[in-house]
């Protein structure tokens, strides 16, 4: 049986470029061995006594300090956060009330006052109307529509004139007429 045998490498292979840097690697080893013979691998440096035992990274120190400060401040921060939440809620409720107030027009206020006249005493009524007017003045910046501001006067000119004459001591009649 004449089977062809590769006499050169007998079927074995080497990694690519194995022999390319071979010479350099051997030389490197030779130099290295010489250095080891001469100097060994002894570490010529030393550290202060217990340096490694006492070594704590500076950021650890900072972290511990800041943790301590946080522990001390924790109850105060909780109270402060609570106050902030209460204020925020109060502001929210107040803003809702303001929105409602602006919707109420003068006519509704009058009707409301009339309807509830018997139920409230004068002081309560005064405070309620004052509140409506006050809130409305501040919040409502839109112009009121014509119907809302329209007053119905059920009196003729003579009746008005008589009314004004009766109270002429309190008002300057000419001034009022001029303004009309």
């Amino acid at each position: 049986m004449n089977k062809k045998i590769n006499t050169k490498n007998q079927g074995f292979k080497t990694p690519n470029n194995y022999f390319n840097g071979f010479y350099d690697e051997i030389k490197t080893r030779i130099y290295e061995e010489k250095l080891k013979e001469k100097f060994g691998k002894k570490n010529p440096f030393s550290v202060p006594d217990t340096y490694f035992e006492n070594f704590i990274p500076k950021n650890e120190n900072k972290k511990q300090k800041s943790q301590k400060i946080f522990e001390i401040l924790k109850p105060y921060l909780t109270i402060a956060a609570g106050i902030v939440v209460v204020i925020a809620m109060w502001q929210f409720i107040l803003s809702k009330t303001n929105v409602k107030t602006t919707v109420i027009n003068k006519e509704e206020t009058t009707i409301g006052n009339k309807q509830n006249f018997d139920e409230y005493d004068m002081l309560e009524l005064y405070s309620v109307t004052e509140n409506y007017i006050y809130e409305g003045d501040i919040v409502s910046l839109s112009e009121p529509n014509e119907e809302e501001t329209k007053f119905e006067i059920n009196a003729n000119e003579d009746e008005i004139s008589n009314f004004l004459t009766d109270y002429s001591d309190d008002y300057d009649i000419n001034e009022i007429l001029a303004s009309l």
């Binding site: 840097g21 690697e25 250095l35 001469k38 002894k42 030393s46 650890e60």
Partner: protein, 186 residues
């Protein structure tokens, strides 16, 4: 506990977002290794302490961002190496404004450093290492003293194995030549 177990334990703590404990483990496990790695680059103890502190500050800062794509060990070595090089470059600028070269400054200070216990021959070796270009110096220290594998070194220094082998070859050749030509070393 061996270093692989420790490494996987640290990885687990990071996954669980227990950064405090992960950091404590890292400090305990690597403080000495990192110290010696940095010391061989910056040479003086006080400088090493500064760089080691900076290294751990960076580790703490970026621990949350560590995704585990590389080993913890190669990641922190890379931080330490970068911090050392940054430190040296800063100091170089300062020193070279006033005195001659930073390498001269270092070799003069090394002799009087109370934490250098080497004999004259050791001093020559350190001077020879100081004469190497930055990359060759790093590679020589990591291979000769720390026996770090080329594969890990490639990850730490973000370069190819071939380039590292070439750097190491040039480094040992140059040191051998320096020692030969320096009469004090015999």
């Amino acid at each position: 506990m061996n270093s692989t177990n420790k490494e996987s334990q640290i990885n687990q703590l990071i996954k669980e977002k227990d950064f405090d404990n992960a950091f404590n483990y890292i400090v305990e496990e690597y403080k000495e290794q990192l110290y010696w790695h940095i010391r061989k680059i910056v040479l003086l103890h006080d400088d090493t302490d500064d760089v080691l502190q900076n290294t751990f500050i960076k580790v703490w800062k970026y621990l949350e961002k560590f995704k585990g794509k590389s080993k913890i060990y190669t990641w922190i070595y890379r931080i330490a190496t970068n911090e050392s090089i940054t430190f040296i470059n800063k100091k170089k600028k300062k020193v070279e404004e006033s005195i001659s070269t930073y390498e001269n400054f270092l070799s003069n200070n090394l002799k009087s450093d109370e934490y250098f216990n080497g004999d004259e021959a050791q001093l020559i070796l350190q001077k020879a290492i100081l004469n190497l270009p930055e990359k060759q110096r790093l590679v020589f220290n990591m291979k000769y003293f720390d026996e770090i594998k080329y594969k890990d070194m490639a990850e730490i220094l973000e370069t190819s194995i071939g380039s590292l082998k070439a750097s190491y070859h040039h480094a040992v050749k140059k040191i051998e030549k320096f020692v030969k030509t320096n009469p004090d070393s015999n």
